[in-house]
């Protein structure tokens, strides 16, 4: 079989558009716009960046025939296409949010790095060869480390970036070690061959070690307990748009990547969904991680006074729920998981967008800094209500259907007696706990009176548009969930 370069180029069109866009942002900033003010340079960089993302979106839309590309290096199945779209939408929203970002001394570099991160993320969505998986993951991660530390005025930022980088580096080392063991056991780096080999060999101890290592990296990427320690610091310290990207697009791509790795690739080593006693596999480990994330995320979030740390612990809790979706993906397909992860991403980008916009009108660190938001900016308060209530899973917002589909799929794996089913019941019970801390946030924003001297907040048009779009999509997908669930 001769390599199909034309097909490869077509499939990589979105990545090419983003890279060209990133280079254009840098080039234009260095040449034509060098003498403009910081604000203008940021605006122009965001315009060019947004165009690049839109171009990438068009390429995804027109992409080649569905199926494996270039041997089996890439897989353009519905999940890949949907995730690529999702990542691009979330990146576009992040760019809109970044318009409100303060203290950007290198706007072009910031935007270019966001585009490079997005490149890595959409490559992750389709990669199904271990080498490419690792490259995509590292491209995304390295860009994210840098943008997490981009605000040089705040010492927390440096701490956040360093912590993110160290944890991420170790996780990457685990992943690479795991991959090398998988290669050693199966003799291949392509998922279809790996799957075939494992089906023949069955689980052996070396493979289980490899699985454990892959799961460590998975836990890191998705901020699942006990690999979550970086998340609160990064969410707190990073500039708001960076945190938005880390929490949304990166998580969506991560879940897609690892679902592809675990089910089509290592599905034969999954173990049984009905019972843990049936034999070793990665499902029991994922179940334990899910339970830990659900409990730790929801309970620790109760004690938070810092808004971003609260969002971080809520993110950990949501990761636990999404891991249920991963467990169920073998039977129910990726639809519930994708619905949950993408709508969760919209709500998180939105929440960080509100924080970013509110920071222009004063501090926005503690939950109580939101006091009187309804008066200072009714628009931001309304958007925040949509995002937070969606995170809390209140119908008719998308967060409700996300929970519903994922839990229903988990319960169908074997009823309440099976691990996934009992985890779903646990998650439903904890959602009542979660409502408390979400209402605490909304209480400040919508009920509490503004503190003396609090100024009205002016929202930049681009940010307003991004927030409105995110809120609108949440309502839309909540009212018409079949639009997303029917894609698969």
């Amino acid at each position: 079989m001769s390599p199909d370069y034309a097909g490869l180029f077509r499939a990589l069109g979105p990545e090419a558009a983003l890279v060209v866009g990133a280079l254009a942002v840098l080039g234009l900033d260095l040449t034509l716009f060098r003498r403009h003010s910081l604000g203008e340079r940021l605006r122009l960089a965001l315009w060019v960046g947004s165009l690049a993302v839109l171009a990438a979106g068009v390429h995804v839309w027109r992409g080649g025939a569905p199926g494996p590309v270039f041997g089996a290096v890439l897989m353009l199945d519905p999940l890949a296409v949907a995730t690529r779209f999702g990542v691009l939408v979330l990146t576009l929203l992040t760019l809109g949010v970044a318009r409100s970002s303060t203290a950007q001394r290198q706007p072009a570099e910031y935007v270019a790095l966001i585009l490079f991160a997005a490149t890595g993320l959409i490559l992750m969505a389709a990669a199904q060869q271990l080498l490419l998986v690792f490259l995509a993951l590292e491209l995304a991660s390295l860009s994210l480390y840098v943008i997490a530390g981009f605000d040089r005025n705040r010492p927390e930022t440096a701490e956040a970036a360093l912590k993110y980088f160290l944890f991420g580096g170790i996780a990457a080392a685990f992943l690479l070690f795991g991959f090398s063991l998988i290669y050693g056991v199966t003799g291949s780096i392509e998922l279809p061959q790996i799957a075939a080999q494992i089906a023949v060999q069955g689980a052996n101890p070396l493979l289980l070690v490899a699985l454990a290592m892959v799961l460590v990296a998975f836990g890191f990427k998705t901020a699942a307990a006990p690999f979550h320690l970086w998340a609160p610091d990064v969410y707190q310290g990073a500039p708001a748009p960076s945190a938005a990207l880390v929490a949304s697009a990166s998580k969506l791509a991560g879940f897609t990547l690892f679902t592809r790795l675990l089910w089509p690739g290592l599905g034969a080593a999954a173990g049984s969904t009905a019972s843990f006693n049936a034999g070793p596999g990665w499902l029991p480990a994922v179940a334990v991680i899910a339970a830990a994330s659900l409990l730790l995320g929801n309970l620790v979030a109760l004690a938070q006074t810092n808004l971003r740390r609260l969002l971080a612990y809520s993110a950990i809790a949501h990761s636990g729920a999404m891991l249920l979706g991963v467990m169920a993906a073998g039977r129910a397909g990726p639809a519930p998981l994708f619905y949950y992860a993408s709508t969760y991403g919209l709500a998180t980008v939105g929440a960080f967008g509100v924080i970013c916009a509110a920071e222009r009108g004063g501090r926005c660190e503690a939950i109580s800094d939101l006091a009187g938001l309804y008066k200072r900016s009714p628009f931001l308060a309304g958007c925040l209500a949509v995002f937070i209530l969606s995170l809390a899973g209140i119908p008719p917002l998308a967060g409700f259907f996300g929970k519903f589909t994922v839990f229903a799929a988990a319960l169908r794996l074997g009823g309440v007696a099976a691990p996934a089913g009992s985890l779903a019941i646990l998650a439903i019970a904890l959602s009542a706990v979660a409502l408390y801390y979400y209402l605490i946030v909304l209480k400040q924003a919508l009920v509490a009176k503004p503190t003396a001297g609090a100024q009205p907040i002016k929202v930049a048009p681009a940010t307003a548009l991004a927030l409105f779009a995110a809120a609108g999509l949440i309502v839309w997908f909540g009212l018409f969930p079949a639009e997303l669930l029917g894609l698969f």
Partner: protein
């Protein structure tokens, strides 16, 4: 009938318009709210006038919503839901009339109020359990903000407690529904589908699943000992919200028990029937005794609501046609009477005197200074005691007679509750409105109170009219309710026909 879904859409549109208009003018917001609430009520009455009673749910809309999961946008109505829809229209219209004096953030107030009303209409119209659940949760969040922003005594505590109890209850319901749905192979959330699916579960699981769903709903219905959110929440709430919460929202829980929980698993119900009935009768007497001890007039009414809702739960637990019919009638009756009582205490009295302490009110001799309020409170009190001529009488009598047929002891203890209700109601009337003259503080305290407004009078007349009408002609509603109780799904749990 086909107009009924528009009650939901009218309320939502009203909410949106009130929000937009309220930013400019509170007056516009309240007129929009009145038009939308009154319009929706008119729709329910128009549907009622052409309603042909029958045992089955009459489908109004049925569209696939999430085809891959078998979820449908299925709205339907029968005599039971129609009774409660009319109640919702009445209570919400009266609620707007009694909120005529809201000026702080009026647009948001009426927007939240109408969103809550839309959620309530949605629940009563849903014929798909997931849709039912979605509307049920839509009703939770507005309650929180209505209380936390516009409430009084201890409002943030009351609001949070109410929201968390409601949400915890609904989480139990969701867990139960998903459990059954998954067991049935994920075919759908029609009530009959779920009952079929539940029947495939082993007996022990059926018992647990029934408990999840029933007690989840019963939390919102205020079943003892899950009722503690109700008094604090209702007392903290602004008048219109207390009226709607006690009058209608608690009925969502009872309606959920009847529509979703009972048919879900007759096996589970058989196991839990006796405990539920005892909890209900204990709640009737206990909440009544607690009401007897309250120093705050609004708390008296808050606990009386729990006591009266105990009758509803007793009617459901006794599970024969008569008691269940009485339970639905009591839902209507209590919705009207509780609305009236909260309106008098919260709007007519508290907004003028700024106190609800019986000790203070006693010194004010309100029968002289607010004769209209006193008269309305006496009427509402008499109705609440279950005296003939008012809707509480046929409702509670039917429940007690029905309960006697199933187990005389329940009816005996329940009847004790009627006596306690008479005691705490008379005490409230006497201390609250007819305090003795010699205890009145002289001079300065007797500054004239603002006269009762037209809106208040109108609201009071609507509610008094309804309780008298149903007191004299309970058959108007029973003729809708009783055929609906003969539906095949309810027949699996309700025994005994006319015997």
């Amino acid at each position: 009938m086909s107009l009924l879904p528009w009650t939901i859409y009218t309320s939502l549109a009203g909410a949106l318009l009130a929000l937009v208009a309220g930013a400019r003018s509170a007056r516009a917001a309240r007129w929009i709210a009145l038009l939308s609430a009154g319009g929706a009520w008119a729709l329910t009455l128009a549907a009622a006038s052409r309603f042909v009673p029958g045992p089955s749910l009459q489908t109004l809309v049925d569209l696939p919503w999430v085809p891959s999961m078998g979820v449908r946008y299925h709205l339907a109505a029968d005599g039971i839901s129609l009774t409660l829809l009319v109640l919702t229209g009445l209570a919400s219209t009266a609620g707007v009339l009694f909120s005529w004096n809201v000026t702080e953030r009026a647009g948001e107030f009426f927007a939240l109020f109408l969103t809550l009303v839309a959620g309530v209409y949605g629940v009563f119209l849903s014929a798909d359990a997931l849709l039912f659940f979605a509307f049920y949760e839509i009703a939770i969040v507005p309650k929180y903000f209505l209380i936390a922003v516009w409430g009084s005594t201890n409002r943030e505590y009351g609001a949070m407690k109410l929201a968390l109890y409601s949400f915890a209850g609904s989480a139990m319901v969701l867990a139960g529904l998903l459990w059954v749905y998954a067991a049935g192979g994920g075919h759908g959330f029609g009530f009959a589908d779920l009952a079929q699916a539940a029947a495939t579960l082993p007996r022990r699981q059926q018992i647990v699943v029934f408990a999840f769903v029933f007690f989840g709903f019963a939390t919102l219905a205020g079943l003892f000992p899950l009722h503690t959110w109700a008094p604090t929440g209702h007392v903290a709430a602004p008048t219109a919200a207390s009226m709607l919460l006690a009058g209608v929202v608690m009925k969502l829980g009872a309606y959920g028990c009847l529509r979703v929980a009972l048919p879900l698993s007759p096996v589970g119900f058989a196991y839990w029937q006796t405990p539920i009935a005892w909890l209900a009768v204990v709640g009737i007497v206990y909440a009544g005794l607690v009401a007897l001890m309250q120093a705050d007039l609004k708390f008296v009414i808050g606990y009386s609501s729990v006591s009266h809702m105990g009758f509803v739960m007793l009617g459901l637990a006794a599970a024969n046609l008569q008691s269940a019919g009485g339970a639905v009638l009591q839902m209507f009756s209590h919705g009207v009477i509780a609305g009236l009582l909260f309106a008098v205490v919260g709007r007519m009295v508290y907004d003028r005197t700024h106190t609800r302490q019986l000790a203070d009110l006693r010194a004010m001799q309100l029968y002289r200074r607010l004769p209209f309020a006193a008269a309305v409170f006496v009427i509402a009190g008499i109705a609440s005691m279950g005296l003939p001529g008012f809707s509480g009488f046929p409702a509670e009598l039917t429940i007690l007679v029905g309960a006697w047929k199933t187990r005389p002891a329940w009816a005996a203890v329940g009847a004790l509750g009627v006596l306690v209700a008479a005691a705490f109601t008379l005490r409230a009337i006497q201390l609250g409105f007819f305090g003795s003259a010699d205890k009145a503080a002289p001079a300065g305290d007797a500054a004239p109170l603002a006269p009762i407004t037209l809106a208040e009078k109108l609201g009071a007349f609507l509610l008094v009219g309804a309780t008298v009408l149903i007191g004299i002609r309970p058959d108007l509603l029973l003729n809708w309710i009783n055929p609906a109780l003969q539906s095949p799904l309810l027949q699996t749990v309700l025994k005994g026909g006319a015997s």
